[in-house]
Symmetry: C2
Subunit: 135 residues, 2 copies
């Protein structure tokens, strides 16, 4: 086996080992890499309109093309136990992760995001945004 082959093997093994570790703790890596959490809740103008809800969901899906968004989850109210502290009055949620404040700012100004607001803002009545940074 020549030297370059030997290095190639060593490199592959190291990559494999490194990747396996990364997979096992992928959530921790994401936590470190994408520590900025942006969670938005939308209250629909017509709370009973599945059509309006689905239009917002479709609009949110277009945001996936924005590179600064490192992960995007679109949600609806989960049927967990009803408790006083649980707010289940909203209609649609978006949960995003960013690398840093600059990434989040670039998302706010992104044409695809602006288009989403233009297309869908008439459908919602209220929006609450929570921006958290991992500690």
């Amino acid at each position: 086996m020549n030297n370059s082959r030997r290095k190639f093997i060593a490199g592959s093994v190291a990559l494999a080992a490194g990747s396996a570790t990364a997979m096992a703790s992928s959530t921790d890596i994401q936590k470190d890499k994408y520590p900025l959490v942006h969670h938005v809740f939308f209250w629909l103008k017509n709370p009973d309109s599945v059509k309006d809800r689905d239009r917002i969901i479709e609009g949110l899906k277009t945001l996936r093309k924005i590179e600064a968004i490192k992960e995007l989850r679109i949600g609806v109210v989960a049927s967990t136990e009803k408790r006083d502290v649980v707010d289940n009055s909203w209609g649609v949620s978006e949960l995003m992760f960013f690398e840093n404040l600059a990434g989040q700012a670039s998302y706010q100004d992104h044409p695809i995001h602006q288009q989403f607001i233009k297309d869908c803002s008439a459908l919602w009545d209220k929006v609450i945004v929570y921006d958290a940074i991992d500690v």
Copy 2:
């Protein structure tokens, strides 16, 4: 190079390639596996007390031992742009992912969670919980 070496290399490369793919789409894998999002915001009784805030943070860290929690992020208010829709009046947040409703329910009843509430609930004034399920 003998056959076993050749197989070893091929295996390593395949593992490396497979892991790289898995890493690239790890967020999608998690989304499918852990679709239940539980986001809790705590408003402190003494909003300016870093000591109280840190006690809640330390309390939240103990929750990591609860198996049903597939990912846990503890956050504080991020210094994103102040906008009317952004609520930055809270003090500490916990963001958790669960496999399903049963996992979330088992977390609610878990002794470590109950101990956290016992130890820290005197420190907060208000709690809002959002439970979302991925669409």
